[in-house]
């Protein structure tokens, strides 16, 4: 078959989302107000359709039976070429739908849009942002999905930028405040710098390997690729050449902007606070997912255990990210900023999974540690750090969305709720929202039996299986960080439950926003209790089907870095 057609066959969800985005642009600018009003519904519909239509198409046309049983069938519905991409698409579409519910009425927070849409002034396409907002929303999600299918550096770069560029604009277009503009400009320039960094890294990698292909595509398995190039070197026992290593390091640091990890975390608090809350919820999930997906794809080309330079870099980044995030989260007076720092800290936890990668050591896999093996292969769930990251993204996504969703549902003196005073005594104002906030906090702390606990178990347990002492210490640092984070998460929950309400705080009368928040809260419980019954953990484990090579040199590859 034509490689182009082959490629497109796995991009059904993205194509549908793009069509949906364009449709939103048009419908959002139609003259009849009734038509304009259905724009969010169109966006939601395209999110649903982007999963269902390709799956239905696949079920009708495909005659090869899938061997996958149970829940892992979901990964073979024709959503993508790889199970990895299919998992990411499912997760992004699912959480994207909740994010969309929370974001309904977000464009109307801009006064001119509100005036136009409520009919107080005559319709003028230049004065309404509804169409653009939902279109950009869908573009951004499309970007993440494309990231997951990436097999070349160019593709990865474009997909990452498709994720980020709409978010820069969404920050500024939903809030009529100088701080939002500041946030958007800051976000844009720092983002551009990050792009420059990882682009430079990509260029160096291309220079070393002579190709932009990360993996050889399925239709040309013999083609040269970065994965093949690095594998050849490691097989021969040679070190990576400096340009490749520097390229990888620059790429990792550049992409760490997307996941808000140290040293590229400085923008986070200002941007998250400046953006309107529904957009902040999106910022805390969508670019982060894209960043982690990109990092998994890049590092998978290197194979695990990582070369010492990369492993030490990631170790230091992980330790610094979670510590900086949690310690600075402690001293915030704004709930939004505290949650922004918490989002940094969670990236630190997830970096652990990236260092672990896949571990074949130990009896549970019956693996022979003496040889390099190239995947995809079956690994016991708790020895699969990448599955931990994939699962944690979802667990963190719902917990975080519950927290931001509650904030988005509140307004204080006509402005967005932001400080601790604004959520004080939330229990008296709205018991349901307070309960959701509590669930979100408990899940983010990682207290059993909610989703966050399973996520942490899935992230931290694999770290033990590598047999590297440095990783065990990293887990201990992460656990102590969980304890630090409990201080401000508890403070948020306690403020909502123990304090007396004060000030003029109202609940936004938006059923959709409330529903999205509530569903996120309930999901933290359901994922926690039934992750096993619904096979979600298996799903994440099965989703790691990239052609990863696991190298024999185990314990000696990494020394404990100097204490910081």
């Amino acid at each position: 078959m034509n490689p182009m057609v082959e490629k497109l066959a796995g991009l059904g969800p993205e194509i549908i989302l793009l069509i949906g985005a364009v449709a939103c642009l048009f419908i959002g600018l139609m003259r009849p107000p009734g038509t304009r009003r259905i724009t969010p519904a169109v966006a939601g519909l395209s999110l649903v359709a982007c999963i269902l239509l390709p799956a239905a198409w696949h079920a009708l046309t495909s005659d090869e039976p899938t061997e996958a049983a149970g829940v892992t069938r979901l990964l073979h519905m024709g959503l993508a070429e790889t199970a990895f991409a299919a998992y990411v698409k499912l997760a992004v579409a699912g959480i994207g739908l909740l994010l969309l519910l929370v974001a309904v009425r977000a464009p109307e927070q801009l006064p001119q849009t509100d005036e136009t849409e409520s009919g107080r002034v005559p319709f003028d396409p230049a004065n309404t942002t509804r169409g653009e907002f939902y279109a950009f929303f869908l573009f951004s999600l499309t970007g993440v999905m494309l990231c997951a299918s990436a097999d070349s550096l160019i593709w990865l770069l474009l997909a990452l930028e498709l994720t980020s560029l709409p978010t820069y604009i969404m920050v500024v277009m939903t809030r009529d405040r100088i701080s939002a503009q500041e946030a958007a400009v800051k976000y844009f320039f720092l983002g551009a710098m990050a792009v420059a960094m990882f682009l430079y890294g990509f260029a160096l990698m291309y220079g070393a390997a002579g190709t932009v292909q990360i993996y050889s595509p399925a239709y040309a398995p013999e083609a040269t690729s970065i994965h093949g190039y690095i594998s050849g070197l490691r097989e021969a026992g040679e070190a990576l050449p400096p340009e490749m290593l520097i390229g990888l390091i620059l790429a990792v640091i550049g992409i760490s902007f997307k996941i808000a990890a140290v040293p590229m975390h400085f923008y986070t608090a200002d941007v998250y606070q400046g953006a309107s809350t529904p957009v902040t919820a999106l910022l805390a999930f969508v670019p982060k997912t894209a960043g982690f997906v990109a990092l998994i794809i890049l590092l998978a080309a290197v194979g695990w255990p990582l070369p010492p330079a990369l492993a030490i870099l990631l170790w230091v980044m992980a330790a610094a990210t979670m510590t900086v995030g949690n310690v600075l989260g402690l001293v915030q007076t704004s709930v939004k900023r505290a949650l922004a720092y918490s989002s940094i800290a969670h990236s630190g936890y997830m970096l652990i999974g990236l260092i672990v990668g896949l571990s074949l050591v130990g009896g549970a896999n019956g693996g022979d540690a003496g040889q390099a093996i190239t995947g995809p292969f079956e690994v016991t769930a708790l020895q699969n750090g990448l599955a931990g990251v994939l699962f944690y993204l979802v667990a963190y996504g719902v917990g975080n969305l519950a927290a931001f969703g509650v904030l988005a549902c509140l307004r204080s003196r006509g402005e967005e709720a932001d400080t601790y005073d604004d959520i004080a005594g939330l229990r008296h104002r709205d018991g349901g929202l307070a309960a959701v906030l509590l669930l979100g906090m408990i899940s983010l702390i990682g207290l059993p039996p909610l989703a966050g606990f399973i996520g942490k178990l899935y992230l931290f347990a694999p770290a033990f299986t590598t047999g590297q002492t440095a990783l065990v210490w990293l887990v201990v640092i992460a656990l102590l960080n969980s304890a630090i984070s409990a201080v401000y998460y508890l403070r948020i929950a306690a403020t909502a439950y123990f304090a007396e309400p004060e000030g003029d705080v109202t609940v936004v009368p938006s059923a959709a926003r409330r529903a999205g928040t509530m569903i996120a809260g309930i999901l933290t419980v359901i994922i926690g209790l039934f992750a096993g019954a619904f096979g979600l953990t298996t799903l994440a484990n099965q989703a790691v089907d990239l052609p990863i090579t696991v190298w024999p040199e185990a314990a000696e590859t990494m020394q404990v870095p100097e204490s910081k």
Partner: protein, 596 residues
Amino acid sequence: MRPETLIPLMVLLPLLAAPAIFALPRRLSEVWAWALFISVLNFAVAVAVVVFAYLPAPGSEVSRLSEGGFFLTGAGWPWLEDFGLRISFGLDAISLWLVVLTALLMPITVLASRTAVTERYREYYMWLLLLEAAMIGTFIATDVIFFYVCFEFTLVPMFFLIGIFGSTQRLKAARVFFLYTFTGSLLMLAGLIYLAYFNAAQDLATAAQTLAELRNIDVSEAQAWLAGQEQAAALGHWTFDIQALTFTAQTLMSPAQQGWLLLALLAGFAVKVPLFPVHTWLPLAHTEAPTAGSVILAGVLLKLGTYGLIRFALPMCPEAVVTFAPYIGVLAVIAILYTALICWVQTDVKRLIAYSSVSHLGFCVLGLFAIDAERHIGQSGAVMYMINHGLSTGALFLCIGMIYERFHTRELAAMSGLGRVMPVWAFFFVLFCLASVGLPGLNGFIGEFLTLVGAFLATDTLGMGFAIAAGFGMILAAIYILYMVGKVIWGPTKVPESHDHNRDAAHAGEAHHGPAVRDLNRREIAVLSPLAALCIFIGLYPFPMLQSLDKPVMTLTRPAAEVVAERADARSEAEREQAARTFEAIERDATREGRR
């Protein structure tokens, strides 16, 4: 219905009733009645479980309890099968009595809270029932992660009970309580995951090799021995089953690995117990908590720590336990003496009792680590102590709660001579104080005496010095408790001024012209009398309970006892050799002399 189903029922009943009680009834009396009904029902289930425990299992001659191992076990439900994680449960005598204690204290606290909580009562009873579910879950778990889940989940209801219903410093107390215990147990979680990995990373071949190196035996011999072990089947799989992991840890871990594991477990359990020097959260939490909260904290939650020590630490890391026992013993003795002295200078009655808990739990830990080659007196005593402390200290907190409800003060200086105006209350208060001091004939004595004897006899780990030092703690306990009793009950009558006219409906009429202080009403007597009866009963007739504890305690302490015996053997062997060498040398000298 199979009797096994009763065990998870004890968790499910309060767990499912809690949200229903929050959502359905409106009025305080209804909510209270439902909470009481559910907790009494759960206690009835617990009693049924005791009955089944004394009945023989099908196809067996002796009662389930006297078989010694876990009984009424069930594989439960898979939770995360990829991880090897199940919700599995079972009981042995230790957990059985602790479950009964929990199920007994719960209706009593509900009964006692009738007038104390009049606002946000739906939340109150919801959290109480959730707490009961979590506590019972901790005791019945036979899967370490299920244990951990319940262990951690107790924090949330307690956080709210203290934070909403506590006294003035409640916010700080709730937060300190949560963060302290949460931090400790996270490190424990790391230890448990490490252990599970250690188990998964072994297979029979490597395990035999490890075993051969550890025991200095042949690999083939080790292989043959392992093949005969039932629990060895779990090697090489991810599992969190307590028995499988205990087996792996005690047989295959090197002393250094056991040391790290013990440290991790201690981080979680020592904070919960609480052991000196990590006890500082306790006085604050106890003092600020509402009465029900203090009763449950002292009665059950502290026991989660000692229960964890005997269920996990002792059998899993015997080598390390024996090595560390003297140091932990020193900490326990410091806890006993230091907090006893602190008690002496307290001016707040509730704070005094709170500190006395630290002192008492010091005895418990001392008994747990009094490891002896042949006997396990200290450990049996410690388990008895856990139950008896739950009864007597829980009751003391209830007594003080009744005083606080009347006078809104707990200051020692504000009251004296209450024996004259509240004779019934004074009777109970003195009884529980004496039980708590360890008067022979009352329940506190049994545990205290056995732990001291255990420490005294365990010469290889603790020995006489520890027993004598801890014995001083008993004297100090008598001093501070009797000092308090003397001040509160006897002396010139002084009733605190800020006392509140009773809110009880039965006495509403006489509140304005009747006696200024009313003694206990029927409900309050009903609260205290079962506890008083049990204090006396167990004090006079502790044998059935002691007897049932014998086998499970022996199973759990045997590995550590074997280590002690081995080391003693090695030492006496070395001494014999030394003596023989000295003798030879003397003989040589003598013959040389003789030749000369």
